[in-house]
Symmetry: D2
Subunit: 330 residues, 4 copies
């Protein structure tokens, strides 16, 4: 698959700082052009601010009991025995740490979300192995257990879910920028007011549709970057959820996108394949300690694509007699 | 990226009939082994029955008016003028046909879902172009329009949504099979009863999580096949939604998965790249008239992976003192 | 339960036109005061525009077959035999008409949404009876049916669902108004800009929460009016879903709420009880031909409550140093 | 509104133990008969086991900052200052306690869910007042705050949401029972197998519909009991969410319903009105220390209605030639 370079992308992150040329693996050439346009706009606007808000990987086993009451009792036991569980879980890994265990209950079951930090790996396998061992330890010690299921659809690996939108899977990253009206007019041939009005319609349509992402097309950037840098592309299923929030500001347009389940790694899996490693190195993201940087670059690239596509749709299409007369617009 | 072959996959479809060796592009070797195991089981069980229930691609523009009342009036005009809209839309394409226009309303907006058949292409670009032209025709003829937005988040391209789970985007495909208890014991080392009990927990956990897929990991097969056959992998965002329904039958286990938004093409985009075309040809799915076959093969492969992973989790993990004593299980 | 009167409510509907005093049954006295305040504001702003966009009641049976393929064939038979189904369904009722049958498929099942117009009744029982008879007729004529279920959770009686938000249950009503900044300042002691900024936060929070209503508290007005006028209050479960869309306009604030599943009746059920009938008569909504008027009054009352509570929250709470300095607000 | 008595309801709760006659305020006489039938069945089956899993009331303010990074910093400050926040919040109330503050983030906002225990009151007003005071304290101490919103749609008062299904609002109650096949045949004229098969269809239909409750009609019991006992009926909006999980057991049928957001009070609001208080006293649920008992009685009544309606639908309707021949059913 051809790899195009887009950039320079200017990022004001905590891990990614400065200009980056971003490798995008895609067969659709116009995609690279569109990202380039967004990167140019945001470069002139001062860059994209990025923040990793959370970083956690899960496995969520379910435990079944004779009744809900016993499930509740078990939940208290888990709290009381967290130190032991943590010790056993962490004995299986050099990099992962069991941060906490969230509890959710329904019927006669207790669902536990084991939340691990995973260093520079995506960490699904590590989390699975560590949880399995911790659960073996639990099951030896806890009588009255009726069933145990290592998988319960409460971590939603390779699936999109509200629990992950709320509680993060992988990295929770925000990319934000404020762009002046003058730049939007010059480069995008539209106005903040028109972009914002169209965004409101997308928000309304998205709520009507029951969508997992009220933005435009974050999956395009994520997929192209995942392919180029050797990420597990199946994780696009969960990484494609997003929350867009934008605002008209005096003289400009604030736009942000929150990606609550971005799953990236700077080593392990496909990151070591020759081309993929080269792409990571181009970004300065190969190896230990680089995963935050990679997450920020992905989010910043997504933001550029959001604004580029959003403004293109608006520039071509958002017109009406009333608008041309300027009546009643914000 | 390495491509592994899994198979033979036995499909009893309407387009795909017989044995197939399925190319899976993945860096995770165990994935191919896992699919192989599921394919072996389902081959012995008589194969996977597949059905394409629907086939439709959308673009969903929004039209804004002074109030909801005018939006409703416009909706009636669209119904009355469907023939004209269809003529203009179809003039832009050789392969697409405008099947119908669904209407959804909120506030002072009318959202139209233009539903196209797209032949063997995925058809997003075609649907976009045809809708754009049709909307230009509408806007010339319809006074009182306040805004127009070609994108409104009611087609949810590259995003997962309830509207697409209900109304299909791309292909709506079902894969089903019934497997005897003897085979499950022999090959999977577990029982239908245990698999079914675990499935019920996944259903409950999935509803608690607010997941877009109560199954196991359909995105894995879809991604690996999309990569191998030159599909747009960003569509994993919407194609990863699924509905699993299973049943205990006398002497066996019925399992089905419904993929409501599977987006595949047998030509166009990346399907013409050398390796990808070769993979399509290996499946007998390259070129005109083959897209239904490809959709069925994807769905059948997904089903094999569902049962393979599901049974592995159960075989290793689903145990308890009560169960060992066989108390109270179905 | 005490009944308070709020008003005058000024409605510019198609059925409700002019001033109304609205009976609210509630033990919370401040609620009536809050609605009064909103009604005063919107009266001065020229009233609330209301529109009934759709009107339809459902029952949604499921039909099971040996495989998805037979379910699809059955769907075609249903289309071909619609006239016969309609005749049998309508023979059971004087007021209901079978408008259409929507089809949804999953696994080896076909779900049919029988959509009835129901005149002035809410119509759940009528729709149930008519669907049951129609299904009996179908089942006598259609071989190969494996199971039949009169209830399938695709009409979601007494429950909230995306399918009803998309496709309406009961009345789909929009209430809208535009209020000048001067009025908002005078009566609400806040500004359109502050209300709009707070609304954006509620939209973002709502999407994060996975809420069925991004507005404020429509259930309060709906419940109080349902109680006063003899509606089935259990329908608050589905009637409480809503979509709010608002806009800053030059010099004012446009606010709309869409209630997609408002279930009301102007006769039948509890509407004939003495006090309840009196309340309906006070609104001019008792008896045949009045249900549209009642739906519009409910929606207009909801809108007054949205703006009243929304502005109260903002007036008391939406402050910050930056805002006091007027920096960067729209 | 007429009040009917259903019962005796046999409850094996932690607060409610023994037989209860349950007052149901409804104009639909058949509803009481239907609940009676379910109560008779479950009495003979040994009663309904009920468990209150959680008990917590929220207010969820949002805090806005210049960027996501500052929002994250603020989140750490909240953790560090929890003791102070708790002290200020609890100074406003005799009964409420601030249990914890959950944090959720999106864009440049931090959403805080203040979780209060509320004793025997429903506690919305108390939680609102306490949160408001705590936030005033925070805002005095925390510089850099750009906006503050006391309401953000992350507590979803009077609305249904996934966050409340996951994290509870009011009481999280489970009601469960196991019923022998003989009893189901004798009283319900159907079989566990048929009821279970129909339930699976409802689960599938519910997932397809995007419903907030995969059960039958919990809102009916909740509304009728809320009306009779002086609860705020508008809370049916959130209290109507539910998760049903059922199982075939050797010789019987296990059925459970989890109500994650049941909002009840044994004093305050309408509970002191004469008839309502009488109804509470009839249940032994009036006054301090009785709210757990009331929650359990509501949940047990809901369960009786679930099984009664579910079996009625099945007994009348779930038939087919294949089933009559007993082919392939579990």
């Amino acid at each position: 698959m051809p790899i195009g370079l887009a950039g320079p992308l200017l990022v004001n992150g905590e891990y990614a700082r400065g200009e980056f040329y971003v490798p995008l693996a895609t067969t659709e050439g116009t995609l690279v052009a569109s990202y380039n346009r967004g990167m140019k706009l945001l470069h002139r606007a001062g860059g994209v601010t990025t923040t990793v808000l959370d970083d956690v990987m899960q496995r969520a086993p379910a435990f079944g009991f004779d009744s809900a009451r016993e499930a509740r009792t078990f939940g208290r036991w888990v709290v009381a025995n967290f130190a032991g569980i943590k010790r056993v879980a962490e004995a299986t890994t050099h990099t992962g740490q069991l941060r906490d265990i969230e509890q959710f209950s329904a019927s006669r079951f207790l669902f536990l979300r084991f939340n691990f930090t995973t260093g520079d790996a995506a960490g699904q396998n590590m989390a699975g192995r560590a949880t399995e061992q911790a659960c073996a330890w639990i099951r030896e010690r806890y009588p009255g257990l009726r069933e145990f299921c290592l998988e319960s659809n409460m971590a939603t690996d390779k699936k999109s879910s509200q629990v992950n939108i709320l509680h993060t899977r992988g990295k929770r990253v925000v990319a934000e920028a404020t762009i002046s009206a003058a730049l939007i007019r010059e480069i995008m041939r539209t106005t903040p007011e028109q972009m914002f009005a169209a965004r409101q319609v997308s928000n309304l349509g998205g709520m009507l549709a029951g969508v997992n992402n009220n933005g435009n097309h974050s999956a395009n950037a994520i997929t192209a970057l995942f392919l180029a840098t050797g990420q597990d592309v199946a994780n696009v299923a969960e990484s494609s959820a997003a929350l867009v929030h934008s605002e008209l500001r005096s003289g400009g347009y604030y736009y942000s996108i929150t990606i609550p389940a971005l799953i990236v790694a700077s080593y392990g899996g496909g990151t070591g394949l020759p081309t993929q490693r080269e792409c990571l190195e181009l970004l300065g993201c190969y190896g230990p300690g680089q995963v935050g940087k990679l997450a920020e670059i992905v989010a910043a690239t997504v933001l550029c694509g959001e604004i580029s596509l959003g403004s293109a749709v608006v520039a071509g299409e958002w017109v009406s007699a009333h608008e041309r007369l300027g009546r009643n617009r914000p």
